[in-house]
Symmetry: C2
Subunit: 384 residues, 2 copies
Amino acid sequence: MTILIPPAASVGQPAGAIDTPALVLDLDVFERNLARMQQAADRAGVKLRPHAKAHKTPAIALAQIARGAVGICCQKVSEAVPFVRAGVTDIHISNEIAGPAKAALLAQLALRARMSVCVDDARQVAELAAAAARAGSTIGVLVEIDIGQGRCGVADAPAALHLVQAIRAHGQLAFRGLQAYHGGLQHVRGAAERARAVAAAGARTAAVVAALAEAGVACETVTGGGSGSAEFDLAGGVYTELQPGSYVFMDGDYGSNEYGGALCFEYSLFVASTVMSVAAAHGAAPRVVVDAGLKSLAVDSGLPLAWGAQGRSATLDYVAANDEHGIVEPRAGATAAALPALGSQMLLVPGHCDPTLNLYDEIVGIRGQAVASLWPVAARGLSR
Amino acid sequence: MTILIPPAASVGQPAGAIDTPALVLDLDVFERNLARMQQAADRAGVKLRPHAKAHKTPAIALAQIARGAVGICCQKVSEAVPFVRAGVTDIHISNEIAGPAKAALLAQLALRARMSVCVDDARQVAELAAAAARAGSTIGVLVEIDIGQGRCGVADAPAALHLVQAIRAHGQLAFRGLQAYHGGLQHVRGAAERARAVAAAGARTAAVVAALAEAGVACETVTGGGSGSAEFDLAGGVYTELQPGSYVFMDGDYGSNEYGGALCFEYSLFVASTVMSVAAAHGAAPRVVVDAGLKSLAVDSGLPLAWGAQGRSATLDYVAANDEHGIVEPRAGATAAALPALGSQMLLVPGHCDPTLNLYDEIVGIRGQAVASLWPVAARGLSR
């Protein structure tokens, strides 16, 4: 007799009966977020290529494409595999790759889907060309330029032009344009400051596009941008294509950004936890312990927000995470009476959704107060 | 044609050819760590029940048991399932559990293995008793006492005695003793300070044991302790059984502890990464980008240590982690010449091994410079 772990939930069950910790998606909010970003991109005449590193879930990629997305981004080659299997036919690896194993897998995927990848070094170009030749496929290549993040990407137009020439020397590589991404801009808090920072980065990108044009090189695609800067990226006129990921869920951390305009998104993703100990509430400082800690929530961008029936809890804070425990206390001004009872369910908004998703094999979708879907996070753990 | 992701490594391959990011275990060091802890426990006459939440890997649990461990701890009920499947016959869930689904699974496991769990509330006792009665199994129960961490556990001997009486009222629950654990003690840096803190916590435990004895309740088991405090826990004479987990690997963070005595452990676990971009090295501040970030390394206890052929790198630091990128810079005093080349492999010591293990499905074991084993991390993601 094999012992099986029962599923966290089954379709039709009340949301309150989900076994915890579990990743819970409010499908109504999720669909509003998808529609809002697609409509904004459509209005601006910019293509939307959402980033699948945020959700790692083929069902979500297909929902984005059904609403008008031209394809998806992945951050790693292996991450793209479950999406190709699920029928996604246009994937950009928004990153450089290192080593022949990754280039070989990418070249195989390019037999099945329109694939592209970034480069910032001529040796990467040579490796991609060799792999494409061996597989008999064509790989699209974008030159990544650094627009201020100081991570990957070449520094200037001459370096970009050098790589364009290297790409064009190979018949099985197709030059597709530029990638220009600056992760730091996503989290500049003030709306006006963020607008200025995005404009400065956009000006750097535009200058490289112009210099390449002067040298006779047209950039079919200029791709980049993210959920925090999307409003300004769309208005800037530099990007032909946007890569936002987090707008689907909204991180707890993004809630600290000030949003001036119409392009706001709502929290759709929660970690459902259960109060597993209230022993310390008697005698010591009032608190309860929930069953979701570091192994159920990424804390690199801050602790999760406690969520109540009316939105963010006005009385409770998640104040510390251990491996499998979270400590919840009444906020200053609230009393121990605000604490939830032993065995009760508590929803938490993760501080950073991308690495939180990467901890789960399944997303439990709810509509209203009932479980409506179970979606495999098929690309979980695929970081090679 | 299904596209398959090639394995990260195969047995017999050179370690330098492992596809990255990958979790790499130095088997010689690992075996020395296992032997050292078991010998120390044997010398002290204390049972060793290593914590499997650290490794989530049945092959490692079986190696610990083969060397003399009496069984293992798990932190969640679902986490125990792959270990029972692999033939581990004695598992303590070192935590309270909430909800009938978890109690039912535990009661099922208790038909196959000697299982125990912690309580700190009479309602948990009632739930366990109901589940054991339904399954027709016997569940061992330990009362958790708070010895200063302020997380789970009852505050004092009268509260513990009340729970012992509740447990004894149920024929299918077996009272087994006390759990007394204080996670904060593991990371007190100075050896003398740590010894004093462990002694104070031990005195609280001993007082509860004595008060129960006076009331006619013998504690067959007093379990707790961890890798950072093991030396003092073993010498203290309070614990009958120790639960260390991290000694198998040693976290980067534990390296900041001062170890006075003989019981030191070595780093055995690494994340293998590859340099994927060196573009920024020309012009900007010197640095390279490796392909292991937040999705390949837990950073809650600090960034990983860069590792060289002679141990911790004397010239390089991993200074920032993004989702799938790590930034590596020369340490103050070193120059750009110290930076590794594009495509070269770089080993990193994770700051916190437990949540890092929870990101991978496989451990690549190496002996010398060759791949010697591939072990499934079968309990990865099992946090319910």
